[in-house]
Protein backbone atom coordinates (compact mmCIF):
# COMPACT_ATOMS: atom_id res chain seq x y z
CA UNK A 1 0.00 0.00 0.00
CA UNK A 2 1.55 3.29 -1.09
CA UNK A 3 1.00 6.37 0.95
CA UNK A 4 -0.02 9.58 -0.77
CA UNK A 5 2.84 11.91 -1.71
CA UNK A 6 2.55 15.58 -0.72
CA UNK A 7 1.40 17.67 -3.68
CA UNK A 8 4.04 20.24 -2.79
CA UNK A 9 6.65 17.97 -4.38
CA UNK A 10 5.11 17.97 -7.85
CA UNK A 11 6.18 21.47 -8.87
CA UNK A 12 9.92 21.03 -8.18
CA UNK A 13 9.63 17.51 -9.60
CA UNK A 14 8.28 18.82 -12.92
CA UNK A 15 10.90 21.58 -13.00
CA UNK A 16 13.55 18.94 -12.36
CA UNK A 17 12.25 16.82 -15.23
CA UNK A 18 12.09 19.90 -17.47
CA UNK A 19 15.71 20.65 -16.62
CA UNK A 20 16.67 17.39 -18.35
CA UNK A 21 14.20 17.69 -21.20
CA UNK A 22 15.25 21.13 -22.45
CA UNK A 23 18.89 20.29 -23.35
CA UNK A 24 17.65 17.26 -25.30
CA UNK A 25 15.08 19.40 -27.09
CA UNK A 26 17.79 21.97 -27.82
CA UNK A 27 19.86 19.32 -29.58
CA UNK A 28 16.95 17.77 -31.43
CA UNK A 29 15.48 21.11 -32.59
CA UNK A 30 18.78 22.49 -33.85
CA UNK A 31 19.93 19.30 -35.55
CA UNK A 32 20.15 19.71 -39.33
CA UNK A 33 18.01 16.68 -40.07
CA UNK A 34 18.24 17.13 -43.84
CA UNK A 35 22.00 16.57 -43.76
CA UNK A 36 21.90 14.13 -40.87
CA UNK A 37 22.58 10.87 -42.71
CA UNK A 38 25.15 12.40 -45.03
CA UNK A 39 27.04 13.90 -42.12
CA UNK A 40 26.96 10.61 -40.20
CA UNK A 41 28.34 8.67 -43.13
CA UNK A 42 31.20 11.09 -43.75
CA UNK A 43 34.63 9.45 -43.41
CA UNK A 44 35.83 11.42 -40.34
CA UNK A 45 32.66 10.54 -38.41
CA UNK A 46 32.78 6.85 -39.35
CA UNK A 47 36.45 6.81 -38.39
CA UNK A 48 35.77 8.34 -34.97
CA UNK A 49 32.76 6.08 -34.42
CA UNK A 50 34.68 2.92 -35.32
CA UNK A 51 37.59 3.92 -33.09
CA UNK A 52 35.19 4.68 -30.23
CA UNK A 53 33.41 1.35 -30.54
CA UNK A 54 36.67 -0.64 -30.69
CA UNK A 55 38.25 1.19 -27.76
CA UNK A 56 35.09 1.01 -25.64
CA UNK A 57 34.77 -2.73 -26.38
CA UNK A 58 38.39 -3.37 -25.38
CA UNK A 59 37.95 -1.25 -22.25
CA UNK A 60 34.85 -3.30 -21.39
CA UNK A 61 36.83 -6.52 -21.87
CA UNK A 62 39.62 -5.29 -19.56
CA UNK A 63 36.95 -4.17 -17.12
CA UNK A 64 35.49 -7.69 -17.09
CA UNK A 65 38.84 -9.48 -16.73
CA UNK A 66 40.09 -7.33 -13.85
CA UNK A 67 36.85 -5.94 -12.45
CA UNK A 68 35.06 -9.25 -11.84
CA UNK A 69 37.77 -10.63 -9.48
CA UNK A 70 37.89 -7.23 -7.76
CA UNK A 71 34.12 -7.28 -7.26
CA UNK A 72 34.26 -10.85 -5.89
CA UNK A 73 37.00 -9.87 -3.46
CA UNK A 74 35.12 -6.75 -2.38
CA UNK A 75 31.92 -8.75 -1.85
CA UNK A 76 33.63 -11.26 0.43
CA UNK A 77 36.36 -9.26 2.18
CA UNK A 78 35.82 -7.26 5.34
CA UNK A 79 37.61 -4.70 7.45
CA UNK A 80 39.69 -1.64 6.65
CA UNK A 81 41.45 -3.15 3.61
CA UNK A 82 38.08 -3.65 1.94
CA UNK A 83 37.09 -0.05 2.67
CA UNK A 84 40.40 1.20 1.31
CA UNK A 85 40.14 -0.77 -1.94
CA UNK A 86 36.51 0.25 -2.31
CA UNK A 87 37.40 3.95 -2.02
CA UNK A 88 40.24 3.49 -4.54
CA UNK A 89 37.97 1.76 -7.03
CA UNK A 90 35.16 4.29 -6.60
CA UNK A 91 37.40 7.35 -6.83
CA UNK A 92 37.41 7.62 -10.67
CA UNK A 93 33.59 7.85 -10.58
CA UNK A 94 33.66 11.11 -8.66
CA UNK A 95 36.97 12.51 -9.88
CA UNK A 96 36.85 15.00 -12.77
CA UNK A 97 38.02 12.87 -15.72
CA UNK A 98 40.68 15.43 -16.64
CA UNK A 99 42.22 14.86 -13.19
CA UNK A 100 42.13 11.16 -13.97
CA UNK A 101 43.99 11.93 -17.20
CA UNK A 102 46.71 13.85 -15.37
CA UNK A 103 47.02 11.02 -12.82
CA UNK A 104 47.29 8.49 -15.65
CA UNK A 105 50.05 10.57 -17.25
CA UNK A 106 51.99 10.67 -13.99
CA UNK A 107 51.64 6.90 -13.60
CA UNK A 108 51.71 5.45 -17.10
CA UNK A 109 53.22 8.36 -19.08
CA UNK A 110 56.68 8.26 -20.59
CA UNK A 111 58.15 9.82 -17.43
CA UNK A 112 55.52 8.30 -15.16
CA UNK A 113 56.06 6.06 -12.13
CA UNK A 114 55.41 2.88 -14.09
CA UNK A 115 55.45 4.25 -17.63
CA UNK A 116 59.18 5.03 -17.56
CA UNK A 117 59.90 1.31 -17.10
CA UNK A 118 57.51 0.36 -19.89
CA UNK A 119 59.49 2.71 -22.12
CA UNK A 120 62.91 1.55 -20.91
CA UNK A 121 62.20 -2.18 -21.04
CA UNK A 122 59.77 -2.59 -23.93
CA UNK A 123 59.89 0.74 -25.75
CA UNK A 124 56.16 1.03 -25.00
CA UNK A 125 54.76 4.56 -24.73
CA UNK A 126 51.06 4.64 -23.90
CA UNK A 127 50.10 8.35 -24.18
CA UNK A 128 49.10 9.52 -27.67
CA UNK A 129 48.21 5.97 -28.72
CA UNK A 130 44.96 4.00 -29.09
CA UNK A 131 46.14 1.88 -26.14
CA UNK A 132 46.10 5.10 -24.13
CA UNK A 133 42.46 5.64 -25.17
CA UNK A 134 41.58 2.13 -23.95
CA UNK A 135 43.41 2.72 -20.67
CA UNK A 136 41.68 6.05 -20.03
CA UNK A 137 38.28 4.50 -20.81
CA UNK A 138 38.98 1.50 -18.56
CA UNK A 139 39.99 3.83 -15.74
CA UNK A 140 36.66 5.63 -15.76
CA UNK A 141 34.43 2.68 -16.72
CA UNK A 142 35.62 -0.12 -14.43
CA UNK A 143 34.23 1.40 -11.20
CA UNK A 144 30.69 1.23 -12.58
CA UNK A 145 31.11 -2.47 -13.37
CA UNK A 146 32.74 -3.33 -10.04
CA UNK A 147 30.06 -1.60 -7.97
CA UNK A 148 27.20 -3.12 -9.99
CA UNK A 149 28.59 -6.65 -9.76
CA UNK A 150 29.51 -6.29 -6.10
CA UNK A 151 25.92 -5.30 -5.34
CA UNK A 152 24.74 -8.36 -7.29
CA UNK A 153 27.07 -10.65 -5.38
CA UNK A 154 25.93 -9.27 -2.05
CA UNK A 155 22.27 -9.93 -2.77
CA UNK A 156 23.10 -13.42 -4.09
CA UNK A 157 21.77 -16.19 -1.88
CA UNK A 158 24.82 -18.11 -0.73
CA UNK A 159 22.85 -21.20 0.16
CA UNK A 160 22.93 -22.19 -3.52
CA UNK A 161 26.73 -22.03 -3.55
CA UNK A 162 26.87 -23.88 -0.23
CA UNK A 163 24.57 -26.59 -1.55
CA UNK A 164 26.72 -27.08 -4.65
CA UNK A 165 29.84 -27.24 -2.51
CA UNK A 166 28.26 -29.82 -0.20
CA UNK A 167 27.56 -31.97 -3.27
CA UNK A 168 31.29 -32.02 -3.98
CA UNK A 169 31.78 -29.14 -6.43
CA UNK A 170 35.15 -27.37 -6.12
CA UNK A 171 35.36 -23.57 -5.59
CA UNK A 172 36.03 -22.83 -9.26
CA UNK A 173 33.15 -25.05 -10.35
CA UNK A 174 30.80 -23.40 -7.85
CA UNK A 175 31.91 -19.95 -9.02
CA UNK A 176 31.49 -20.62 -12.75
CA UNK A 177 28.43 -22.92 -12.63
CA UNK A 178 26.41 -21.44 -9.77
CA UNK A 179 27.51 -17.97 -8.74
CA UNK A 180 28.14 -16.44 -12.17
CA UNK A 181 24.87 -17.65 -13.77
CA UNK A 182 22.93 -16.39 -10.78
CA UNK A 183 24.41 -12.92 -10.92
CA UNK A 184 24.19 -12.80 -14.74
CA UNK A 185 21.76 -9.84 -14.72
CA UNK A 186 24.21 -7.74 -12.67
CA UNK A 187 27.08 -8.83 -14.88
CA UNK A 188 25.18 -7.82 -18.00
CA UNK A 189 24.12 -4.49 -16.52
CA UNK A 190 27.65 -3.80 -15.33
CA UNK A 191 29.07 -4.53 -18.77
CA UNK A 192 26.55 -2.33 -20.57
CA UNK A 193 27.00 0.60 -18.21
CA UNK A 194 30.81 0.26 -18.38
CA UNK A 195 30.63 0.22 -22.19
CA UNK A 196 28.42 3.33 -22.17
CA UNK A 197 30.77 5.16 -19.84
CA UNK A 198 33.81 4.13 -21.91
CA UNK A 199 32.11 5.35 -25.08
CA UNK A 200 31.42 8.76 -23.56
CA UNK A 201 34.86 9.31 -22.05
CA UNK A 202 36.39 12.70 -22.93
CA UNK A 203 38.49 14.41 -20.25
CA UNK A 204 40.89 11.63 -19.38
CA UNK A 205 41.20 10.72 -23.06
CA UNK A 206 42.19 14.14 -24.41
CA UNK A 207 44.59 14.61 -21.48
CA UNK A 208 46.22 11.18 -21.53
CA UNK A 209 45.81 9.97 -25.10
CA UNK A 210 45.70 13.23 -27.06
CA UNK A 211 43.56 13.98 -30.06
CA UNK A 212 44.54 12.62 -33.47
CA UNK A 213 42.14 11.57 -36.23
CA UNK A 214 42.10 7.79 -36.69
CA UNK A 215 44.41 7.18 -33.72
CA UNK A 216 42.92 8.71 -30.60
CA UNK A 217 40.05 10.98 -31.74
CA UNK A 218 37.00 9.19 -30.37
CA UNK A 219 33.42 10.41 -30.82
CA UNK A 220 33.40 12.78 -27.82
CA UNK A 221 36.68 14.33 -29.00
CA UNK A 222 35.25 14.63 -32.51
CA UNK A 223 32.28 16.51 -31.02
CA UNK A 224 34.64 18.87 -29.22
CA UNK A 225 36.70 19.39 -32.38
CA UNK A 226 33.64 19.92 -34.57
CA UNK A 227 32.16 22.42 -32.13
CA UNK A 228 35.06 24.77 -32.88
CA UNK A 229 34.85 24.65 -36.65
CA UNK A 230 31.50 23.15 -37.64
CA UNK A 231 28.83 23.54 -34.92
CA UNK A 232 26.18 21.86 -37.10
CA UNK A 233 28.40 18.80 -37.40
CA UNK A 234 28.90 18.82 -33.64
CA UNK A 235 25.13 18.75 -33.14
CA UNK A 236 24.77 15.78 -35.50
CA UNK A 237 27.45 13.85 -33.62
CA UNK A 238 25.86 14.78 -30.30
CA UNK A 239 22.46 13.54 -31.42
CA UNK A 240 24.07 10.27 -32.50
CA UNK A 241 25.72 9.86 -29.08
CA UNK A 242 22.39 10.63 -27.38
CA UNK A 243 20.76 7.90 -29.49
CA UNK A 244 23.44 5.37 -28.60
CA UNK A 245 23.19 6.25 -24.91
CA UNK A 246 19.40 5.95 -25.05
CA UNK A 247 19.71 2.54 -26.72
CA UNK A 248 22.12 1.34 -24.02
CA UNK A 249 19.77 2.58 -21.31
CA UNK A 250 16.95 0.72 -23.04
CA UNK A 251 19.03 -2.47 -22.76
CA UNK A 252 19.50 -1.70 -19.08
CA UNK A 253 15.86 -0.88 -18.38
CA UNK A 254 15.25 -4.00 -16.30
CA UNK A 255 18.24 -3.41 -14.10
CA UNK A 256 18.92 0.29 -13.71
CA UNK A 257 15.53 1.74 -14.47
CA UNK A 258 13.40 -0.71 -12.53
CA UNK A 259 11.50 0.45 -9.50
CA UNK A 260 12.85 -1.56 -6.61
Amino acid sequence: MRSRQPALLWLPASLGALFFVLPLLGLLLRAPWAEFVGELLSPPVLQALWLSVRCAALATLLTFVFGLPLAVWLATAAGPSRTAVRVLVTLPMVLPPVVGGVALLLAYGRRGLFGQWLDAWFGLVLPFSPVGVVLAATYVAMPFFVLTVEAGLRSFDHRYADAAASLGAGPWRVFTRVTLPMIAPSLGAGLVVAFARALGEFGATITFAGNLAGETRTMPLAVYQALQTDPQGAIVLSVLLVMVAALLLFLLRRHWLRVA
Binding site: L105, N211, Q225, Q228, P231
Partner: protein
Protein backbone atom coordinates in the same frame (compact mmCIF):
# COMPACT_ATOMS: atom_id res chain seq x y z
CA UNK B 1 17.82 28.63 -8.53
CA UNK B 2 18.38 32.05 -6.96
CA UNK B 3 20.33 30.43 -4.14
CA UNK B 4 22.38 28.41 -6.63
CA UNK B 5 23.09 31.53 -8.64
CA UNK B 6 24.27 33.55 -5.69
CA UNK B 7 26.42 30.62 -4.56
CA UNK B 8 28.23 30.33 -7.86
CA UNK B 9 27.99 33.99 -8.68
CA UNK B 10 25.93 34.14 -11.85
CA UNK B 11 23.70 36.90 -10.50
CA UNK B 12 25.16 40.37 -10.07
CA UNK B 13 25.91 40.89 -6.41
CA UNK B 14 24.22 43.94 -4.93
CA UNK B 15 27.35 45.51 -3.49
CA UNK B 16 30.02 45.06 -6.17
CA UNK B 17 29.51 46.26 -9.74
CA UNK B 18 29.46 43.65 -12.44
CA UNK B 19 33.04 42.85 -13.48
CA UNK B 20 34.37 43.48 -16.97
CA UNK B 21 34.49 40.02 -18.53
CA UNK B 22 37.50 39.51 -20.80
CA UNK B 23 37.79 36.50 -23.13
CA UNK B 24 41.42 36.09 -24.17
CA UNK B 25 43.42 33.54 -26.15
CA UNK B 26 45.35 31.01 -24.06
CA UNK B 27 48.71 32.41 -25.18
CA UNK B 28 47.75 35.76 -23.58
CA UNK B 29 47.37 34.29 -20.09
CA UNK B 30 50.39 35.90 -18.39
CA UNK B 31 50.26 39.42 -19.91
CA UNK B 32 46.48 39.68 -19.48
CA UNK B 33 46.71 38.78 -15.81
CA UNK B 34 49.19 41.66 -15.46
CA UNK B 35 47.07 43.96 -17.65
CA UNK B 36 43.96 43.24 -15.58
CA UNK B 37 45.80 43.95 -12.33
CA UNK B 38 47.20 47.22 -13.72
CA UNK B 39 43.78 48.24 -15.05
CA UNK B 40 42.08 47.56 -11.72
CA UNK B 41 44.70 49.74 -10.07
CA UNK B 42 44.36 52.52 -12.62
CA UNK B 43 40.56 52.53 -12.48
CA UNK B 44 39.45 52.39 -8.83
CA UNK B 45 36.35 50.31 -8.21
CA UNK B 46 36.74 48.33 -11.42
CA UNK B 47 37.00 44.55 -11.53
CA UNK B 48 38.20 42.44 -14.44
CA UNK B 49 37.26 38.80 -14.85
CA UNK B 50 39.52 36.83 -17.18
CA UNK B 51 38.64 33.73 -19.22
CA UNK B 52 41.38 31.98 -21.14
CA UNK B 53 40.94 29.23 -23.73
CA UNK B 54 41.95 28.40 -27.26
CA UNK B 55 40.61 31.16 -29.56
CA UNK B 56 38.11 28.89 -31.37
CA UNK B 57 36.66 27.71 -28.05
CA UNK B 58 36.14 31.32 -27.02
CA UNK B 59 34.43 32.02 -30.32
CA UNK B 60 32.03 29.10 -29.76
CA UNK B 61 31.13 30.48 -26.35
CA UNK B 62 30.58 33.97 -27.79
CA UNK B 63 28.34 32.55 -30.50
CA UNK B 64 26.21 30.85 -27.86
CA UNK B 65 25.76 34.16 -26.05
CA UNK B 66 28.42 34.16 -23.34
CA UNK B 67 28.31 37.62 -21.74
CA UNK B 68 31.84 38.78 -22.57
CA UNK B 69 32.75 42.47 -22.73
CA UNK B 70 36.11 42.06 -24.47
CA UNK B 71 37.39 39.50 -26.97
CA UNK B 72 41.15 39.21 -27.54
CA UNK B 73 41.95 36.60 -30.20
CA UNK B 74 45.19 35.03 -31.35
CA UNK B 75 44.42 35.50 -35.03
CA UNK B 76 42.48 37.76 -37.34
CA UNK B 77 40.48 34.93 -38.96
CA UNK B 78 38.59 34.12 -35.80
CA UNK B 79 38.07 37.83 -35.09
CA UNK B 80 36.60 38.27 -38.59
CA UNK B 81 34.25 35.36 -37.89
CA UNK B 82 33.14 37.09 -34.70
CA UNK B 83 32.55 40.33 -36.62
CA UNK B 84 30.60 38.52 -39.34
CA UNK B 85 28.35 36.98 -36.67
CA UNK B 86 27.61 40.47 -35.20
CA UNK B 87 29.32 39.59 -31.94
CA UNK B 88 31.43 42.77 -31.79
CA UNK B 89 30.90 46.46 -31.17
CA UNK B 90 33.00 48.55 -33.53
CA UNK B 91 36.10 47.36 -35.34
CA UNK B 92 38.83 45.14 -33.95
CA UNK B 93 42.33 46.55 -33.52
CA UNK B 94 45.60 44.66 -33.58
CA UNK B 95 47.36 45.26 -30.24
CA UNK B 96 50.33 42.90 -30.23
CA UNK B 97 52.28 40.42 -32.27
CA UNK B 98 54.11 37.23 -31.56
CA UNK B 99 56.28 34.78 -33.40
CA UNK B 100 56.79 31.06 -33.33
CA UNK B 101 59.24 28.97 -31.37
CA UNK B 102 59.92 25.28 -31.04
CA UNK B 103 59.26 24.22 -27.46
CA UNK B 104 61.63 21.50 -26.23
CA UNK B 105 62.51 19.91 -22.90
CA UNK B 106 64.84 22.14 -20.83
CA UNK B 107 68.46 21.59 -21.82
CA UNK B 108 67.32 20.44 -25.26
CA UNK B 109 68.36 16.77 -24.78
CA UNK B 110 67.29 15.86 -28.33
CA UNK B 111 69.48 18.65 -29.77
CA UNK B 112 66.74 20.19 -31.87
CA UNK B 113 68.09 23.17 -33.78
CA UNK B 114 65.41 23.88 -36.37
CA UNK B 115 62.12 22.88 -37.95
CA UNK B 116 63.71 20.12 -40.07
CA UNK B 117 64.71 18.27 -36.86
CA UNK B 118 61.04 17.88 -36.01
CA UNK B 119 60.65 15.33 -38.81
CA UNK B 120 63.24 13.06 -37.21
CA UNK B 121 62.19 9.45 -36.60
CA UNK B 122 61.38 8.53 -33.02
CA UNK B 123 60.92 12.12 -31.93
CA UNK B 124 57.60 12.72 -30.17
CA UNK B 125 56.15 15.93 -31.61
CA UNK B 126 52.67 17.44 -31.49
CA UNK B 127 51.08 20.63 -32.79
CA UNK B 128 47.94 22.49 -31.85
CA UNK B 129 44.91 21.53 -33.92
CA UNK B 130 44.60 23.26 -37.32
CA UNK B 131 41.62 25.30 -36.05
CA UNK B 132 43.73 26.76 -33.22
CA UNK B 133 45.70 29.81 -34.47
CA UNK B 134 49.02 28.46 -33.19
CA UNK B 135 48.32 25.19 -34.97
CA UNK B 136 47.54 26.93 -38.23
CA UNK B 137 50.66 29.14 -37.95
CA UNK B 138 52.80 26.09 -37.15
CA UNK B 139 51.56 24.29 -40.25
CA UNK B 140 52.24 27.41 -42.36
CA UNK B 141 55.79 27.58 -41.04
CA UNK B 142 56.39 23.87 -41.68
CA UNK B 143 55.02 24.23 -45.20
CA UNK B 144 57.35 27.17 -45.86
CA UNK B 145 60.28 25.11 -44.62
CA UNK B 146 59.15 22.10 -46.65
CA UNK B 147 59.17 19.91 -43.55
CA UNK B 148 56.59 17.21 -42.96
CA UNK B 149 55.93 16.48 -39.30
CA UNK B 150 53.91 13.58 -37.93
CA UNK B 151 51.97 15.31 -35.16
CA UNK B 152 50.94 12.88 -32.41
CA UNK B 153 47.92 14.94 -31.43
CA UNK B 154 45.88 18.01 -32.33
CA UNK B 155 46.23 19.77 -29.00
CA UNK B 156 43.41 22.18 -28.05
CA UNK B 157 45.63 25.11 -27.00
CA UNK B 158 49.27 26.20 -26.68
CA UNK B 159 49.00 25.86 -22.92
CA UNK B 160 47.92 22.21 -23.23
CA UNK B 161 50.78 21.56 -25.68
CA UNK B 162 53.43 23.18 -23.46
CA UNK B 163 52.08 21.21 -20.46
CA UNK B 164 52.75 17.92 -22.26
CA UNK B 165 56.31 18.94 -23.08
CA UNK B 166 56.75 19.95 -19.42
CA UNK B 167 55.55 16.51 -18.32
CA UNK B 168 58.02 14.88 -20.70
CA UNK B 169 55.34 13.19 -22.81
CA UNK B 170 56.41 15.13 -25.88
CA UNK B 171 59.92 16.00 -27.05
CA UNK B 172 58.87 19.08 -28.97
CA UNK B 173 56.03 21.17 -30.34
CA UNK B 174 55.53 24.49 -32.07
CA UNK B 175 54.10 27.31 -29.96
CA UNK B 176 54.61 31.07 -29.56
CA UNK B 177 57.95 32.45 -28.44
CA UNK B 178 56.20 33.95 -25.40
CA UNK B 179 54.96 30.51 -24.25
CA UNK B 180 58.44 29.18 -23.51
CA UNK B 181 59.87 32.01 -21.44
CA UNK B 182 59.46 31.72 -17.66
CA UNK B 183 58.73 27.98 -17.74
CA UNK B 184 61.51 26.07 -15.99
CA UNK B 185 61.02 22.63 -17.52
CA UNK B 186 61.10 23.78 -21.14
CA UNK B 187 63.24 25.84 -23.48
CA UNK B 188 62.61 27.54 -26.79
CA UNK B 189 64.40 27.04 -30.09
CA UNK B 190 63.98 29.93 -32.51
CA UNK B 191 62.26 29.40 -35.83
CA UNK B 192 64.38 30.99 -38.61
CA UNK B 193 62.92 34.25 -39.83
CA UNK B 194 62.42 32.89 -43.34
CA UNK B 195 59.90 30.31 -42.07
CA UNK B 196 58.48 32.22 -39.12
CA UNK B 197 54.86 33.38 -39.14
CA UNK B 198 53.97 36.58 -37.35
CA UNK B 199 50.89 36.14 -35.23
CA UNK B 200 48.79 39.31 -34.92
CA UNK B 201 46.47 39.60 -31.94
CA UNK B 202 43.28 41.65 -32.46
CA UNK B 203 41.08 42.93 -29.65
CA UNK B 204 37.50 44.23 -29.75
CA UNK B 205 34.59 45.12 -27.50
CA UNK B 206 32.14 42.20 -27.47
CA UNK B 207 28.45 42.89 -27.97
CA UNK B 208 26.98 40.41 -25.49
CA UNK B 209 28.53 41.89 -22.35
CA UNK B 210 26.91 43.89 -19.57
CA UNK B 211 29.78 46.39 -19.23
CA UNK B 212 30.16 47.89 -22.69
CA UNK B 213 31.76 51.11 -21.43
CA UNK B 214 34.05 49.17 -19.12
CA UNK B 215 34.95 46.89 -22.01
CA UNK B 216 35.84 49.88 -24.19
CA UNK B 217 37.99 51.31 -21.40
CA UNK B 218 39.83 48.02 -20.99
CA UNK B 219 40.46 47.82 -24.75
CA UNK B 220 41.76 51.40 -24.71
CA UNK B 221 44.04 50.51 -21.79
CA UNK B 222 45.50 47.49 -23.65
CA UNK B 223 46.20 49.76 -26.66
CA UNK B 224 47.67 52.56 -24.52
CA UNK B 225 51.44 53.02 -23.98
CA UNK B 226 51.05 51.56 -20.47
CA UNK B 227 49.34 48.47 -21.86
CA UNK B 228 51.91 48.09 -24.64
CA UNK B 229 54.72 48.27 -22.08
CA UNK B 230 53.21 45.36 -20.14
CA UNK B 231 52.82 43.31 -23.31
CA UNK B 232 56.43 44.09 -24.23
CA UNK B 233 57.56 42.90 -20.79
CA UNK B 234 56.05 39.52 -21.56
CA UNK B 235 57.87 39.28 -24.87
CA UNK B 236 55.06 40.35 -27.20
CA UNK B 237 55.96 42.47 -30.20
CA UNK B 238 54.42 45.74 -31.32
CA UNK B 239 51.34 45.45 -33.56
Amino acid sequence: MVVACSLVGCAPAAAAPHPIVVFAAASLTAPFQALAAAFEQAVPGSAVELHFAGTPSLLVQLREGAPADVFAAADENNMQRAAAADLLVGAAQVFASNHLAIVVTAGNPQRITGLEDLARDGLRVALCGPEVPAGSYARQALAKAGVEVRSLSDEPSVTALVAKVRLGELDAGIVYATDVTDVAEVAGVAVPEAFDVRARYPIAVAAAGLQRDGGARFVAFVLSPAGRAILRDFGFGAP
